[in-house]
Amino acid sequence: MLKNWISIFIFQVKNNKLFTALNVLGLSIGIAGLIFAILYWNDEHSYDQWNPNKENVFLVANQMDPTTYWASSSAPIGSAIKNTSPEVESYCYVNGNYDNEIIHYNDKKVQSGKIVVAQKNFFDYFPYQFIEGNAKTGLPDGNSICLSEDLAIQLFGNESAFGKKIVLQNQTLVVRGVYKLDKKSVFNPSCVVNFMDLRVKNTIQQWGNFQFILLLKLKNPTDAGLVEKSLSKIYYDNMTAPRAKFQGMTPEEFIKKFGEVKPHLESLSSIRLHTKTGGLIEGNGNYQLLLIFMGLSILILILSIVNYVNSATANAVKRAKEIGVRKVIGASKTNIILQFIFETAIILLLSILISLVIVELSIPYYNAFLEKDLVLQSGQLYLQLVVIFIGTVITAGIFPAIYVSNFEVLKVLRGNFIRSKNGVWLRNGMLIFQFAVAAFFIIGSYIVYQQIDYMNSKDLGFNGNQVLNISYRNIYGEKIDGKIQFDKYNNIKNQLLRIKGVKQVAGGGFVMGSGAKSVISYHYKDINIDGNNVPVDFGLLEMMKIKLVKGRYFNPQYSQDTINSMLINETALKLLNEKDPIGKKINWDGKEVIIVGVVKDFNIGNPGEAIPPMSIFHFKSIPWFSGLLNNIYVTADPKTMQQTIAAIENVWLKKVDSDYPFLYDFVDKEYKRSYNSYVQQKNLFSLLNLIVILIALIGLFALASYSIERRMKEIAIRKTLGAETNILLKELCKQYVVFSIIGFLIASFPAYYLLNKWLENFAYRVSISISPFLIGFTALLLLTLAVVLSRAYQATKVDVLRYLKYE
């Protein structure tokens, strides 16, 4: 029987080469898309899943206002909750970002970009496998360091690392352990040092200074609610109550006016994809992108399955006679169903093989797009492929099989079956579905394109054209004080200004596109403002061409500008609700400052984000701001830019920092990278759009071909009775035009709703106008007409006699 099935199958394939090829192609593209999505899905869901503590280690996420969650906590919270809440087994502070430093071993220098600063029980929370030393004794004190295997090999080659002495940030550290970094986590440290104890100790009084990540290990994960309650009480006792007292109000009044910090616990297993905070060191997984991608790729697979079902049922009518004969000579319904499912299975097997080839060939581009290194190799994936195979065989195979098995023998053998209307409603329904999906994608990608275009052309409020940003790291160690650091900067500034071609030099404590580095809330009258701190040197705002609305820029001629002058932006002004802000005094972090000017709003974060209220100070006004002075901005004569950059590099490496590579970029280019991910989403959407339209057109082409073939006799009769070509064409296209209109209407509402949802990501967004819909409709109609007309025109040219006589 199998042999018989196979030979019939091969015959059918040979006779329908084009449609078989289109089907296989459509299915392979659909499955390839799903494999890509699954690879991404698996990767994102593998974070921290290996960790035995994933359910009982929690991140303290602090809700600052209804929509803002911080991943950081202040230093005293950890010991306080450990002491008051018996449910807490231990706590561990970790720094909120990787350090990038050079590690010295004898004369060897290795730069390491992923240094994690943590407390000694870090490896109790993240139990990596130790090759040398062990997790318990890895970080007993501030002079210890544990290395990842890769870093150990870089530093010591094949020698044992244990007990060796290395120098980091002018401190000598002893290697106490080497671990294997082979599992994904929210932390992926190249090495871990215990500098955190000291940092916690130094700020143990500062309840309001939220700067470290706090992890809690609970004895029992179900107690998370209790611990949240205890934390709330601690916050109330130590933050809300004293502040209210300071303001001279009751705590209730204070909360009503300024709100309070609400603690939440997020389990380690959920952080990567579901955290409400901005994420830990490795950043969040983009759950929205993941869902969009997964959803769209399933949609594409459904589309190609629909194609297959349509084409199979339409083709089955042609095979009616075969089925009839099989039934007459004794085939049961089950037997026929099995035969057709068998055919589907072969087609799918072929499609999966081709899709694997597609994935293997295009995975480098995909990795570049997601900035990951996924490989097409895991037991999990192959298991999922088997599930996809079975699932697709059932959904794609069962319907045509049952449809065919239900053919009535007598009707079929009498030969009048080919024009039967059986199953037409279903095919038309699926066609409408395809039209709807295609319309959705055309509309959607046009709106996405509009939004990205809008962001590209938006007035940013500053001009970074030809402004150099030189990365200036703290090369003086942890313990340097702010004043000395600023003096060192001044020294560098003077050296740079002497270089030929350099026009202006000014330091800044921010990078355009990355947002401000710190936020300090202040009160004015009864208004609470979360001011983003923007530390600047004289002249920086002018260099960036940030415009002034009121008052004046900072100026070295006014001595108070390095003591207590403050500039704000328009957003802050709006919040202050003050008509004449110049000269007004503000209590800022316990210090009285005076507003001397208001600047026009400019984008400091990516252009999709809302512009926050800003507090702009000169570095000298707030001593600790000098620690943020990590960027030196330079303007130079554009004609000799290359020579000037070379000269700056030369000076830099000789006099400033000979260890680290000289890093610089133009501000405008750097800024563009900040919304790269949205540009990539646009590209992804365009690519998927192309695939969807392609698959839908293949489907339409096949279906139009079958349905026109079915109507060939009718066409022949009409022609005999005198119908002209254009009348026939109208007749043939009519239904497809109607279907495409219905499909378009069905797609419009979800397209509007979902794209609006996507646009909510952006503070500055286009509103959805009628034009994407008009364009989508026109494109859909034109594509439909192009496909159908080409088939219909062929049909009207066909030899009438063939269909009149030999039917």
Binding site: R718, G722, L801, E807
Partner: protein, 236 residues
Amino acid sequence: MITIKKLSKVFRTEELETKALSEISLTINQGDFVSIMGPSGSGKSTLLNIVGLLDSASDGSYQLLDQEMVGLKEKLKAKARKENIGFIFQNFNLIDELSVYDNIELPLIYNNVSASERKSRVNEIARILNISHRLKHFPQQLSGGQQQRVAVARALINNPKIILADEPTGNLDSKNGNEVMELLTDLHASGSTILMVTHSDYDASFSQKTILMKDGVILSEKQNHRNVDVLVTSKN
């Protein structure tokens, strides 16, 4: 009305060349009722199709109403066809998706006849052919004889100059077949020109003249006596 001179039709495949018609000459005058007989493959259907402008000749001359049809453009052929020719097929060739009324109306639509006139003409012809009560039905719901009457109605609705019938009784039982033949005889009696292909001697006996074909040539032409009877009865 129809003048055919040395008309040939050659089918070519990769291997061989078949002459379906070789140098046939034939004249049909207005009011004639001519039947063509012959075994399968004798070329009779090919001849009918060429006369009906569904097929084109390879060589020779075919004049319809003094206009040369061989080598005419498709568009002009279509025009000549819809204005002058009505078809009746063995398998009726009705459009299953359209009702009887719509089927009969179709040629009028293609000839740009106004809606009100279409309606009266369809009703009139349906009355004559005794299918008025079936106008709302679909072809599949009718008996073979009724379907063929619908096909005849469709062929006549446009008052064609010549009616071409390709084995009109082939799919019918003898009673229904007889009815259809009597219908054709009546049409002839009222002045229609009819060219009919048939296998049946009985059917051929209804016509004035029978042409016998074999292997693409006309073997013989004979006058039928029964015609006289018909003419006599029609005069009565």
